[in-house]
Amino acid sequence: MIDIGLIGDLYVFVLAGFLGYQVISRVSPLLHTPLMSATNAISGISLVGSLVVAGAGYNEISTLLGFVAVTCSTINVVGGFLITDRILKMFRAAGAGPAPGGGNAKGTASGSK
């Protein structure tokens, strides 16, 4: 009933979920805003699916929907990466000295001198 491709996809999904958990847990709370805009940008990966639908010329409606989808996800990708870069640029200018510790998730002071 369930084809083998779907099971393979499920493997990838679950393992990537674990990997994501491990990687994201290490991100310092200081960088949560750029993290969010960055994940926002990479969630524009729906672009790759949209590209195929827009370009394959299945029928008119699919092409139109694909075109709108390509536009929307391009906004996501371009805008997301640009603003992340803008935010991080400020951090770099600021963090010339010893980088701030960032505090922990419970919201204690992210102190620095």
Binding site: M36, A56, I75, I83, T84, R86
Partner: protein, 358 residues
């Protein structure tokens, strides 16, 4: 051959995404990390352009150009205080794209799909549609276009849950009768509607949690799209994204001493809880500007606790000036930033970084 090449491109870009997110664990490596992620995205796009089913590039090019033309100004000229709105808006675009592709897939294949595939498409379109309207609502609330306080009515949780149940029931029905277009499109309509209803009862102050959650939904939508198109890179990124959003929303709820169910469904209880909570706390001393200045001048250690008020009044430059003056007097200046201060996790850190506060 071309297919294998495509998969190789995707594999490399998946690795680059993971390394990019890893870079964010430290401010020093963050920009390099983002560069890697950008490279990954570029590779994924180039790889997809080689896809064997693509026959015409006209619409693709038009979409890319138009999207860039809208995306660049949105990113470059938006003030830092408005970053949360932009992110929410961007989520809604991504979700809309995913939802449209799902609809197009269903439209194209219709009943020819197996019941499992139709189920996957159903979930994908449902998540995409509700994230689209939900994010639009969240952006509207943050921007002040929609009034920020919780909008509630009797039996709200019940009606929301029944809509959710109805959508799931429609998806199950679709799995048994894949050709039922009426069921599919009414499910889509309900999902758009649900996104609005879902955000209405949540106050603007809880929006950071909601944005993080919507981020997670957007990720899950991507993953579902990957299942639908059998595209591994989308599953991987969607999964990364989903766990990121989920972790962030949990962290923020913990920082506010509230459970996530309380934030999402607790619009009623909140009103009654608050006075009781406040009574237990220490009295707040109010003072005039002169008193405050004197107090600051004579103290040895000062902690700034910036909130959204600073963001609204663009006071971060003043804060910096005051801090500099105090430092010249030999006062120890520190910053205490609550994890959910502002309208987004870490929002205050960004604003302070804007005025070069370490």
């Amino acid at each position: 051959m071309r297919r294998d090449l495509l998969q190789l491109f995707y594999l490399v870009s998946a690795i680059l995404f993971v390394m990019g997110l890893r870079g964010l664990s430290h401010p020093k490596t963050a920009r390099r990390g983002m560069f890697l992620a950008e490279l990954g995205m570029l590779l994924a796009i180039i790889g997809s352009l080689l896809h064997h089913e693509i026959i015409g590039y006209r619409w693709i090019a038009a979409g890319l150009v138009l999207g860039t033309a809208i995306g660049v100004p949105m990113a470059m000229w938006i003030p830092m205080t408005a970053v949360p709105q932009r992110t929410a808006l961007s989520h809604s675009f991504g979700a809309l794209a995913a939802s449209l592709i799902g609809i197009s897939e269903y439209y194209r294949h219709g009943a020819a799909l197996g019941s499992v595939r139709v189920g996957v498409i159903g979930v994908e379109v449902m998540l995409g549609s509700l994230t689209f309207t939900g994010s639009l609502m969240a952006a509207g609330k943050l921007q002040g276009l929609i009034r920020g306080y919780p909008i509630t009515w009797r039996g709200q949780n019940f009606s929301n849950l029944s809509i959710l149940a109805a959508m799931l029931a429609l998806i199950v029905a679709l799995m048994f009768v894949p050709s039922s277009t009426a069921a599919f499109y009414s499910m889509v309509g309900l999902a758009f509607f649900f996104g609005v209803l879902f955000i209405l009862p949540i106050g603007a102050a809880d929006m950071p949690v909601v944005i993080a959650l919507l981020n997670s939904y957007a990720g899950l939508t991507d993953a579902a799209m990957g299942f639908m198109l059998d595209n591994k890179i989308q599953i991987i990124t969607g999964s990364l994204d989903g766990s990121s959003g989920f972790i962030l929303s949990i962290l923020m709820c913990r920082a506010m001493n509230r459970s996530i169910t309380n934030v999402l469904f607790g619009a009623f209880g909140k009103v009654q809880d608050k006075p009781a909570e406040l009574e237990g706390k220490k009295p707040i001393r109010q003072c005039s500007v002169e008193e405050a200045a004197e107090l600051l001048g004579t103290s040895r250690s000062v902690v700034f606790v910036p909130g959204y008020g600073m963001a609204v009044s663009q006071a971060q430059h003043r804060v910096r000036e005051v801090a500099d003056m105090l430092k010249n007097k030999g006062v120890q200046v520190r910053y205490g930033i609550h994890a959910v201060a502002g309208r987004m996790p870490g929002h205050m850190n960004v604003l302070l970084a804007e005025v070069k506060v370490p």
